[in-house]
């Protein structure tokens, strides 16, 4: 079952990259979310899949009384999900504002920082 998940992770990564390579900013955003999910699943799968219990210690015990899922990747992914969401929100607002200001969501027309006909540097001391 691990290999099925591994293949699925590949699908997430491929779909995410394909969307990120789009010239439409909104599609890139979707791609970012998909890519992020793919990476989270990658970490999750690399930490070994198990159908065992969640890593929670039953009340009154000092340790779980049976095998539990690996808690470390879960902690990492939890952090990653939250950060991913924060970045996603920020980028969404940024894209929104860029659209309002530049009236464009195509990256080819967003050339304010790197204009098409940049002047040559001055040849003098």
């Amino acid at each position: 079952m691990d290999y099925v998940l591994a293949a699925l992770v590949g699908c997430f990564i491929a779909a995410g990259i394909y969307l990120l390579l789009s010239r439409s900013v909104i599609r890139m955003l979707l791609g970012l979310v998909v890519f992020g999910n793919g990476v989270n699943l990658l970490i999750f799968t690399a930490g070994r899949l198990t159908r065992a219990a969640a890593p929670i210690v039953p009340a009154g015990l000092n340790q779980p009384d049976g095998p539990v899922a690996n808690p470390l990747p879960q902690a990492l992914i939890l952090t990653a999900i939250v950060i991913g969401f924060a970045v996603f929100s920020f980028l969404l607002v940024l894209a929104f504002r860029a659209y309002q200001t530049l009236d464009a969501d195509n990256t080819d027309t967003m050339r304010v920082a790197e204009p098409v006909d940049e002047p040559n540097p001055p040849l003098s001391y």
Binding site: A15, L21, R51, E114
Partner: protein, 779 residues
């Protein structure tokens, strides 16, 4: 004794930091107060003469980086003492001079700081024994020289001169570093004084020699690196007097002299030094004849003098080396004095053009005396230091072999031209009929007269005591360069039977001829120059501008501004990084079936997934396909929700309820926000891509996806180190008192991670607020 030698190099830096304040509080006398620093150093160095004469050298050693056995070592022998005394002595007079020359300049305090810092670097350079320290001080002289040349930074010529000097001398600095490291590799020591003969015998001798020569030639303005020196004359005159005649440009000569015991004496050394030195001598001499600006004229003669010194070091005979020592002192004294004289003339008369200056001696008699004393030494008349230098250099070449005769001819020609220029500098501006000058003429202030008079007189006083001169200057200096004891044979007597004196006479006569025909020669040389069409300067400019153009082209190639191509580059690199190392290092071997195939049916078994697990995987795939192919944005958003929900379900199925919970929340929020925002924008519905773009993007995505999948499969086929997880599971309740292990990890074991995460969320929140609020303000 130990620390005080190091302090000689460190004191000027400390004084440099304080200089602006000292200048502010001691306003009209800032120069006098600050001159105490080099003056004190000069006096201290005088006390070292006796120990150096007695024992040959004095050294000091301070632990620098003990872990690497690196000591900050200083070393004073005859050679470094002569240089250090010259630097601090002339430095004292230059600081004094600068105070008067730049009186009232708004940045005079800063200028003093630069000047003193340079002095510290220069003193450190000549006293350093550790080669890394030598390199450090070498570069510091370049940097401080850059600051001093560009002091008048509002003029482009000054900026150009500064950049040119920095670029050229730094090329040499880098070469020096390489050379130093090579020498250390061979000898295993960092100390100059300990480096030995083994360098000459190794296969890398050529490389080491090349590095050191490049360093020396760039610093000492040898052809073809000579052109930065005349342009450095954009600096205020005190700087020219100090750096670009007496001290910094001599650093190259010093380096050659210092390394001569273990680098010199080979055929390569002799040939390269004699050829480059001779070419520089002639080039500088001809260059001086071309000029009418007194300062430029002196700058060109400095190039010639540096060439002369390099040539003599190349010859390497006892006489030649003795001549170098005497010539260094003589040249430093008269050239610094002449620069100060020219500065005084410029300051008081308002021009440096030799063709319009005449008859200044009436109004500036003291300046004239200074100029005369220095010029006589430059001509090399008897009773001056210049005379001894000239005698010594001719003396070594009287064997009348053909190569000696060629060198002798070059020397006589060069010396004659320099003598002619010296006569011009002494006679033309000062004697003859009085011509009107741009400024009302009067004598220079005392602080500006002290330099030329003292230095000019020193050149005479030292010369009338040949025994003292021989014992305290020539012998220790030449002995240090040659690493064998040298006997002095200086004498005041003139023997008409000796051919030597007739060579001197020939030099003077030729010099007089040059002086008389100066105008004709100048016209001729200028016509030649315009006929040539280009100079080293134009080549330098072309190179610099070419470099700027090249960097602009590279920048434009890399920063083309197409986001899509940037991303293609990133993901292509990702694809390569995923696939290539694994394939090359055989990482995929674990995934391939073994040769005997073993129990292949078990390996190919249908994966053990329950029916609802298959359902979730299928749901995720449907969501992904729908996101990619979505014909409208609403479908895309819904599909995004589907794949997110599928991920959450996977988390739920495999023992991660916390993750599932968070993922659900985030997905719902994302979908809602996206739907809100997207419906307010009128966007292109479809994802248009050209066919070749489609193929390229699809290929990249596919390769990356496959790469990640394979990587993960390889990872899964290995062992997992679960020690950390087991520790967390075992200790979560006993020591952290939390039953939910994931939560305990987040808030306890890896609490700082979570703090960082919260900071990211907060930063994003603030940025979002700012972005949204600014819109309102504008509207």
């Amino acid at each position: 004794m130990d620390a005080s030698i190091a302090l000689v190099a460190i004191w000027p830096f400390a004084a440099a930091l304080l200089a602006p304040w000292v200048h502010r509080f001691a306003k009209p006398f800032g120069g006098w107060v600050l001159a105490l620093v080099p003056g004190g150093i000069f006096l201290f160095l005088l006390t070292l003469i006796d120990p150096v004469l007695a024992t040959g050298s004095v050294s000091a050693r301070i632990a620098w980086v003990p872990a690497y056995d690196l000591d900050l070592s200083f070393f004073v022998d005859g050679l470094s003492l002569i240089f250090a005394l010259t630097i601090s002595g002339i430095g004292t007079l230059v600081v004094l001079y600068a105070g008067a020359y730049l009186k009232g300049h708004p940045h005079l305090g800063r200028f003093f700081g630069f000047l003193l810092a340079f002095m510290g670097a220069m003193l450190g350079l000549v006293l350093a024994d550790n080669m890394l320290a030598l390199f450090m001080f070498w570069e510091l002289t370049s940097v401080t020289s850059f600051l001093l040349i560009g002091f008048d930074h509002t003029r482009m010529a000054a900026r150009r001169g500064a950049i040119q000097a920095l670029v050229i001398t730094n090329i040499g600095g880098m070469a020096l570093l390489v050379g130093v490291l090579l020498v250390h590799q061979m000898t295993g020591v960092w100390d100059l004084s300990a480096s030995g003969d083994e360098v000459r015998g190794t296969a890398l001798y050529g490389s080491v020699l090349g590095c050191f020569l490049l360093a020396a030639f760039t610093k000492s303005a040898q052809v073809p690196f000579h052109f930065w020196l005349p342009n450095a004359m954009e600096a205020p005159t005190p700087v020219s007097a100090f750096l670009h005649s007496a001290t910094m440009v001599q650093a190259g000569v010093y380096l050659l002299a210092r390394t001569m015991p273990w680098l010199g004496g080979t055929a390569a050394w002799t040939w390269i030094l004699v050829c480059f030195g001779g070419a520089t001598l002639i080039w500088g001499a001809l260059g001086a004849l071309r000029q009418t600006d007194l300062k430029q004229m002196l700058a060109q003669t400095t190039i010639a003098s540096l060439g002369l010194s390099v040539l003599l070091l190349g010859l390497g005979s006892t006489y030649a080396v003795s001549a170098v020592v005497i010539y260094f002192v003589a040249h430093a004294l008269y050239k610094a004095a002449l620069f100060m004289v020219v500065g005084a003339v410029d300051h008081e008369a308002g021009t440096r053009d030799v063709t319009v200056l005449s008859g200044l001696a009436d109004r500036m008699p003291v300046t004239f005396i200074g100029a005369a004393l220095a010029s006589l030494a430059m001509i090399g008349l008897p009773l001056t230091l210049g005379y001894y230098a000239k005698e010594e250099m001719y003396l070594g070449l009287l064997a009348w072999r053909w190569d000696d005769i060629v060198v002798l001819a070059v020397l006589v020609a060069g010396n004659a031209t320099l003598a002619g220029v010296a006569m011009l500098v002494m006679v033309k501006p000062f004697l003859g009929p009085t011509l009107p000058t741009p400024k009302a003429l009067h004598e220079a202030p005392i602080a500006m007269l002290a330099g030329p008079i003292i230095l000019g007189a020193a050149g005479i006083v030292a010369a009338v005591m040949p025994d003292w001169l021989g014992q305290t200057v020539l012998q220790p200096g030449a002995s240090a360069i040659l690493a064998t004891p040298v006997e002095s044979h200086l004498s005041l007597t003139i023997n008409p039977a000796n051919p030597l004196i007739w060579l001197s006479v020939l030099t003077w006569v030729l010099g007089l001829l040059v002086y008389r025909k100066m105008a004709t020669l100048r016209t001729l040389l200028r016509r030649l120059e315009t006929g040539l069409g280009w100079t080293a300067d134009t080549v330098f400019d072309a190179l610099m501008f070419g470099l700027i153009g090249f960097s602009a082209a590279v920048t434009r190639f890399l920063h083309h501004g197409k986001l899509e191509i940037y991303l293609v580059t990133v993901f292509a690199a990702l694809a390569l990084a995923l696939i290539v190392p694994m394939a090359l290092l055989g990482g995929y071997a674990v995934l391939l079936p073994t040769s005997d195939l073993g129990n292949w049916s078990a390996k190919l078994a249908w994966p053990q997934l329950t029916i609802y697990e298959w359902g979730v995987v299928a749901l995720a795939l449907v969501g992904l396909v729908a996101v990619v192919l979505a014909p409208s944005r609403l479908i895309a958003i819904v599909a995004l929700g589907i794949q997110g929900a599928a991920v959450a379900l996977i988390f739920l199925l495999f023992g991660a309820p916390d993750l599932a919970f968070t993922q659900f929340m985030v997905e719902v929020l994302s979908v809602v926000i996206l739907a809100l925002v997207m419906t307010r924008l009128r966007l292109d519905e479809r994802d248009h891509r050209e066919l070749e773009d489609l193929a390229r993007d699809g290929m990249l995505a596919l390769v990356c996806g496959v790469g990640v999948s394979l990587l993960l499969m390889v990872v899964l086929s290995g062992d997992l180190d679960t020690r950390l997880s087991e520790l967390f599971i075992a200790t979560s309740v006993p020591i952290a008192h939390g039953a939910n292990i994931v939560n305990v990890i987040l808030v306890d074991y890896r609490g700082f991670d979570t703090l960082g995460e919260i900071s990211v969320v907060m930063g994003a929140g603030m940025a979002i607020t700012a972005l949204l609020r600014r819109r309102k303000a504008v509207a």
